[in-house]
Every structure is written in structure tokens, then in C-alpha cells.
């Protein structure tokens, strides 16, 4: 049988676009939406694919990454899904894509205007682990009452000497809403600030959408005397020699020998292609 272009019916896409417009209008605010059941399990990117499905046009060029890589199974599966139900062109090159759906990373290659980055979000509520009641967290957001989040950061420093949140590191968007950047490593947080590209976040299971519009101020929470810091490696990528990218550690033999390589496979591949040219 034939499915509608990009799987969802046009009414559902309109509902999603309305919610996305609202999200863009209120940066960082979680907009509840009528999340549909997608042919992909909850937790596997149902929010991301609904956002992508609502935005895709026939001329779009789609890139899908998971952990920075185009070839991880979940990324492949989502790309196959859209190739099947929308027939759009796909690419692995960040620069060529008009729409990039991602899980857990922001590409190393700088994004530009007119690109959209769609994040898959498992838990949109940054306060959830501190306050399980949804009715209460919504009040805290409404009142911008975020002392609780700082209690968590305080406690990290008190117990470990520094803030021990390494991914899904909370940010304040446009000085107003406390927001989860999705489980990207905190290494990627600075890329959220003043990004020329539109960033959209979809949480299918939790039925929330939110956005960071282009050129929006995004601050990672910190204390004045314990400023925000990102991960750094002593190593460089052993494939392309990059010293400024996020590295994956790979175990290469039975003796536990390891090497470090770029998590962003496209970035790494491009650098190697340039080097050999």
C-alpha cells in the first residue's frame, strides 16, 4: 500500500508545524503536541522523525546521524524510512544537507543559515530527575524558578570537586527557559549558542517539541567561580589527526588496546580526503 508523502497525513503535519511555530516563537519552551505512534519504537527517535516528516519537502536533502555517525544502525534505519516514504535525496555530507536529524551529537562542521538540525530527545524535561511531577515542573518553568537545578550542580561540586554532568548538560535559552539540549555531550553545548541554523527538538514519547531559533543566546549553567568547561582529550584523532573534535574511544584488540577517533564520521572522512588530495 502507499503511504502519504513522509508517512504522516497532511492534517498531522499541519498540527506539528503549528506546534513548531509556537516552539520557535518561545525559545526553549516545551510545547505539548499530539505525538503520533510511528513505525519506530518510542525512544528510538519518534519525536525527531515526526518533526522531520512535518518539514521535509521533495527538494530537501536529508542527513541522519546517530552518535555523530551516518552509518550506525539507527541512523541507517531512519534514513531508509524517509527514503522509502518520502523518496528524498540523502547525503552523508553535513554541508550538503538542508535537514539533519541527529541523536546525541551536533556535527563538527559549522552549520549555516537555512539548515535545520532536528534532535531526537528521550527526556525533554531537564528538571525531571529532580522533580518527577509534571504538574510541578511546568509551574517551575512558568515561574522561571530554577534554584533546584543549581542545587544539583552545587551538589556535584560539593561531592566531586566539579560539575559532574557530562552530557545532556542543562542550558538556559534566551535567558528564560531552562532546557535540555538532548543527550549531546557537553562538548557540543557551545555550538548551540548563536547558531545560524534552526535547532528543533522532538520528544515523541513525552509528546513535547521545542526549539532554539537561529542566533539565540544559549548559556550552559554554571557558577561564577566554577565556569562551564567542555571535555578535552590529550589524544588527537588517529585517522585524521583532528585535535579539536569529539573523540570516540575504540577498543582494537583483546588486550584492551584502544585508539581515539572522531565521533563525527563525515568530518573525519572529509579531513582525510582533503589530506590525501
Amino acid at each position: 500500500m502507499n503511504y502519504n508523502f513522509a508517512f504522516l497525513d497532511e492534517d498531522t503535519k499541519r498540527m506539528l508545524r503549528r506546534a513548531l511555530l509556537k516552539a520557535v516563537a518561545i525559545p526553549g519552551y516545551q510545547v505539548p503536541f499530539g505525538s503520533r505512534e510511528m513505525p519506530l519504537p518510542y525512544g528510538w527517535g519518534t519525536g525527531g522523525i515526526q518533526v522531520t516528516a512535518a518539514l521535509l519537502g521533495p527538494d530537501d536533502v536529508l542527513k541522519v546521524i546517530d552518535q555523530g555517525a551516518d552509518d550506525t544502525t539507527n541512523a541507517v534505519n531512519i534514513r531508509r524510512f524517509f527514503a522509502r516514504v518520502a523518496g528524498v535525496a540523502t547525503t552523508e555530507h553535513t554541508a550538503d544537507a538542508t535537514l539533519i536529524q541527529t541523536r546525541h551529537r551536533i556535527p563538527e562542521t559549522s552549520l549555516r543559515e537555512n539548515q535545520i538540525l532536528v534532535f531526537q530527545v528521550p527526556e525533554p524535561e531537564p528538571l525531571r530527575t529532580l522533580e518527577p511531577r509534571e504538574a510541578e515542573t511546568r509551574s517551575l518553568h512558568a515561574l522561571a524558578d530554577y534554584g533546584l537545578m543549581h542545587v544539583k550542580l552545587y551538589e556535584d561540586i560539593a561531592q566531586y570537586g566539579h560539575i559532574a554532568t557530562s552530557y545532556d548538560y542543562p542550558v538556559l535559552v534566551d535567558g528564560r527557559y531552562l532546557t535540555s539540549p538532548s543527550p549531546i555531550p557537553k562538548f557540543d553545548n557551545p555550538k548551540l549558542d548563536q547558531s545560524p541554523a534552526l535547532m528543533l527538538f522532538g520528544a515523541g514519547r513525552e509528546k513535547r517539541l521545542y526549539a532554539i531559533p537561529p542566533y539565540t543566546r544559549v548559556e550552559s549553567l554554571a557558577f561564577e567561580d566554577h565556569p562551564f568547561e567542555i571535555q578535552r582529550w590529550e589524544q588527537q584523532c588517529e585517522l585524521c589527526g583532528a585535535g579539536e573534535s569529539y573523540l570516540d574511544e575504540v577498543i582494537v584488540d583483546d588486550h584492551g588496546k584502544r585508539m581515539f577517533v572522531c565521533s563525527d564520521t563525515d568530518f573525519c572522512g572529509q579531513r582525510r580526503a582533503e589530506a590525501s588530495a
Binding site: 509551574s139 512558568a142 515561574l143 524558578d145 530554577y146 534554584g147 533546584l148 543549581h150 542545587v151 544539583k152 552545587y154 551538589e155 561540586i157 560539593a158 561531592q159 554554571a222 557558577f223 561564577e224 567561580d225 566554577h226
Partner: protein, 256 residues
């Protein structure tokens, strides 16, 4: 001296059952008022209704904030009510475990309200938290310990530090010493008396214990069946009770 809090004809009903009925009083800056009565007399309901934790069925509560403006509590929106609770008021619960965050350290408990007010300097927060631990007689070396490992009395002192750290103008206390041993009680009452004086706090405290009222409060209200049956200077009430119920309360204390 003008009032800080004006309570007029305040009632709270649970369905058809009366919690408290037609209560009026004024509270002045720096004054500690005790509400005494047996359990079921409506004193905790009254406290919770005055502190905007329960919605009044009838009557009003007005509060004069720092800038001198009078606020009608029932008409405040949720945002203003929370701001007030955070910035100008404090609430000490009977069971410290209800008022503390048990999964974070003592220091985080004390610093929380400061962080809610926007203090973002870690070392400064630590310094203030240590100072307050000292003030409530907790060894500042225990700043990073979880309150679950504290004794009941220490937990209650920690709750007091956590509440007073932002220097509220008005504190509500619901039987803050009820669950504790007598010797521990005495130490906390002494501490409260000292802090109330030092900080010039106004406070409303609920207690079933007349001795607590005598120690702390200049003024006392006696409740029975949801209504105030007698109110006046604490010494006068204890030495010369007018209402038969107060007489009974006072004599039962004297005979035990």
C-alpha cells in the same frame, strides 16, 4: 508599631467539617505568636491557611511586604505566592524530613533558597552555609554530609537554617519540637528564641505545649474545635486563664 499580617474572619472547611472558623488576629514585626490547642483543635489548619498552603473558605489574610505595600494573599497569583514564600516567608514543618531535601547534602539544603534568589557564586554559598550551620550549632565540617545521617534534632536545626538563610520577615512553624526528646527540645527552643531576637523575625508557631508558648511567645491564642477561645499576653493567659477550656489546659499542664 503597624501590623505585618492581618487575619480577618478566616475559615477553612474540609467539605462539611470545620477546620478553623472565623479567626482574626494581627501580627506585628518582630513578634512571635503561639497558637496552642490539642490535636484536632484546628491550629495546624489555621497555620496552613494563613501561610497560603490551604485556600480559605472565608475571610482574608493580608500581608505588608518589605516595600510597605499590603498584599491580599487570596488574590495573589501562583507566581507571586511562590515569590513571597521564597523571599519573605519561611515555613518550618514538624517533621524535618518534610522540609528538607534528603538526597542532597546539608550545605545544598542551606544554600537552596539562596540559589533560588539568584546567588551563583559557589564559594560564597559555601561560606554562608557554613556560617548558618555554625549558627544552628551543627559542626560546619558536616557541610557535605547527607541529612539522612543526622539525628532528629540536627535535622530540625538544619531545617531552621535552611529556612532562615534568606532572612525572611515572617516564619510559620508547625510544632517544630514535637517529635523530639525533651533535652533536644530545650536546645532548639533556646536556639529559636535567640534567632528570632537576633533577626527581628515575626513568627507564628503552632504548639500543643503551653511551656513552649511561655518560653517563646509574648502573645498566645488558644483554639478549641476550630475556634479561638482566648487570646492575650502569654503570661496573663497562663497565670489567669479566663475561658474554661484554657483553665483546663493550664491545670492539666500544672498537674502533670
Amino acid at each position: 508599631m503597624s501590623a505585618l499580617l492581618q487575619v480577618r474572619h478566616l475559615s477553612h472547611h474540609y467539605g462539611r467539617r470545620v477546620g478553623c472558623e472565623d479567626v482574626s488576629f494581627d501580627l506585628h514585626a518582630g513578634e512571635l505568636l503561639c497558637i496552642v490547642g490539642e490535636s484536632g483543635s484546628g491550629k495546624s489548619t489555621l497555620l496552613n491557611t494563613v501561610a497560603a498552603q490551604l485556600a480559605p473558605t472565608a475571610g482574608s489574610v493580608r500581608y505588608r511586604q518589605r516595600d510597605g505595600a499590603w498584599l491580599e494573599i487570596a488574590t495573589l497569583n501562583e507566581a507571586d505566592r511562590r515569590r513571597l514564600a521564597r523571599e519573605e516567608w519561611g515555613f518550618v514543618t514538624q517533621n524535618p524530613r518534610d522540609g528538607l531535601r534528603l538526597n542532597v547534602s546539608a550545605g545544598a539544603n542551606v544554600a537552596e533558597r539562596l540559589m533560588a534568589l539568584g546567588v551563583r557564586h559557589y564559594s560564597q554559598l559555601r561560606e554562608i552555609a557554613r556560617g548558618w550551620l555554625e549558627r544552628v550549632e551543627i559542626d560546619p565540617a558536616r557541610i557535605d554530609d547527607a541529612p539522612t545521617g543526622f539525628s532528629g534534632g540536627m535535622q530540625q536545626r538544619l531545617q531552621i537554617a535552611r529556612t532562615l538563610v534568606t532572612q525572611p520577615r515572617l516564619v510559620f512553624m508547625d510544632e517544630p519540637t514535637a517529635g523530639l526528646d525533651v533535652s533536644v527540645q530545650a536546645r532548639i527552643l533556646d536556639l529559636l528564641r535567640r534567632l528570632v531576637n537576633e533577626l527581628g523575625l515575626a513568627a507564628v508557631m503552632v504548639t500543643h505545649d503551653l511551656a513552649v508558648a511561655r518560653l517563646l511567645a509574648a502573645r498566645t491564642m488558644v483554639m478549641q474545635g476550630g475556634r479561638v477561645v482566648e487570646t492575650g499576653l502569654t503570661d496573663q493567659i497562663l497565670d489567669d486563664p479566663q475561658h474554661p477550656y484554657t483553665q483546663l489546659l493550664v491545670s492539666s499542664v500544672l498537674t502533670t
